[in-house]
Point group: C2
Chain length 320, copies 2
């Protein structure tokens, strides 16, 4: 009789669940659902329970791993808060999952679990230390040091998004100036493009054609598209974002000296020029003796789900 592992990923725009046999690397099955607009924590849980029940078809899992897109206390399995959906504050996710499925559960945030997933199944296999950075709506990160997740003294490690890149830079949502997240995230890129297009429309004609007259429709993805079509304004914006990310990576390399940086998230699909600027800036920012590589994520947006498998698997092994 095999042990089944149930992996769950509570995301900002979609939820995913998967079932895998302990020790295997191929899913028995997995499912996704788009999150409802203006949903609540209760609805999110209902959706996830339903996905999981469909996959389990009556089986009881041996262990559950869950990824959550927000701050989590990994020791207690308590969700601290969710920035997008109401009702998550201080919700005991670990306990709720254990009650629902009758199996031990472990919970962590998506950046930590993406790092764990990439380390065991993705771009970080065979490496002892890495920093996974997700560049998406926001910017976050997760650490693997000595082959283990490093969560920090109070589960807050990895917050590269609010590394100050330029104290005279634009205001970030956190109230500080020139944070990496403000300069390099999808939101920041869209905002910069909007500002520049209002100021000097003649440089952003390709972007303007893509987006039409409604500048609020600008997204990082459209900027990226225009960038690769040669739009000057979009190049200016994305070059700056890549520079900021490179500065951040170089600083982190000096501080912690990991073997590998893995970059994931939608924004990192911006193309060769974007990656070149990141690599070049990071190399210049780091001291000559500090060696590292920068690689794209391998698992895409399934990385947290794979990390949830590893979390459940490792904890199950420890229980035995």
């Amino acid at each position: 009789l095999v042990d089944l592992i149930l992996a769950l990923d509570f995301g900002g725009t979609k939820h995913a669940a998967g079932v895998i046999a302990s020790g295997e690397a191929v899913w028995r099955g997995w499912k996704r659902a788009i999150t409802p607009d203006n949903g609540t924590a209760r609805e999110d849980l209902e959706i996830m329970f339903s996905l999981a029940r469909d996959l389990l078809v009556g089986d009881i899992p041996a262990a559950i791993g869950a990824s959550f897109g927000g701050p989590v206390d990994a020791d207690t399995g308590l969700v601290r808060t969710c920035y997008h959906v109401h009702g998550w504050d201080n919700l005991p996710l670990k306990n709720l999952l254990e009650q629902e499925f009758g199996a031990p559960a472990w919970v962590d945030n998506d950046a930590n679990l993406a790092a764990l997933g990439e380390h065991r199944f993705g771009a970080g296999r065979g490496v002892q230390s890495l920093f996974y950075i997700t560049v998406s709506t926001g910017v976050g990160g997760g650490w693997i040091l000595n082959n283990h997740l490093w969560r920090g003294a109070n589960n807050m490690a990895g917050e590269i998004g609010h590394l100050c890149i330029d104290p005279d830079g634009p205001l970030c949502a956190c109230g500080r100036h020139g944070c990496l997240e403000r300069l390099a995230s999808g939101c920041g890129i869209a905002e910069d493009a909007r500002l520049l297009l209002t100021r000097s429309p003649q440089h952003g004609q390709i972007l303007h054609q893509l987006v039409g007259s409604d500048l609020s429709a600008i997204t990082a993805q459209l900027v990226s598209q225009a960038y690769n079509l040669g739009d000057r304004l979009s190049q200016q914006v994305l070059d700056k974002a890549a520079w900021a990310l490179g500065k951040g990576i170089g600083s982190v390399a000096n501080l912690i000296n990991p073997e590998l940086f893995i970059l994931g998230g939608g924004v990192t699909n911006a193309g060769e020029r974007y990656w070149q600027i990141i690599r070049q800036t990071a190399r210049q920012e780091a001291l000559p003796d500090v060696h590292f590589e920068i690689q794209p994520a391998f698992l895409g947006d399934t990385a947290p789900l794979w990390g949830a498998v590893v979390l459940a698997q490792d904890n199950l092994n420890e229980l035995k």
Copy 2:
């Protein structure tokens, strides 16, 4: 029969040696010597051998730990280079010590060993993660994570000195702009005071009186003295240095989330106002949920020697 541990500290301005019984926390004896001007690696070694022979009086140590004030490959015990003294490049310090004293030796850099010393014998006792920062001629650091030294993938972790605090800031010796070391080190402080005193002498009258007409005689220590006597120019300079250090600490807290920061080195004796600015800026820079303390070092300039004891002791225990 007790095991004796020989601890050595090859410093920039002085060398120190100590002998301690394994498992004890009180020196059997220790000695210091000022380094010669324009000395060589060979002379440094002769001085150290002589100090050690005086302390050992014919006994053979069970293990040797050595701190070196420059980049070291801790795995092989090879000194990479020394920025002050000729002849150290690629010197196999571990092997030289083993040949001289007939005992196994381990070598690491001074910032790592100061972190280790403070963790076991000083301000970091009982804490599982800390970052030790030395603010002296330069700025460097050493990591304790999960109760162990974290050296990085190629022994370069802890280089907070070249964290970029302000990309539009003054040129650092490393060729980059606005590095923490340029803004907060003893050298940087002295340079800023010299520049400002040339430009607006009316604000630095107390400093001017302390130093006389020879502005090249300005040191961070004199700036600190003038600062505590109310010199406006010195306050401006040291406030900026404290701000830069606080920014760096807050960023590191977000990235790695250690329990404790320990600050050592001569510059950190600048007084209450300097510490207040560091603590306040670090708190503002860190995210609200990121908790940490900032404490002064406890062991002063003996921290690397104590760390050398821990390094030798731990490796000796592993051999047994």
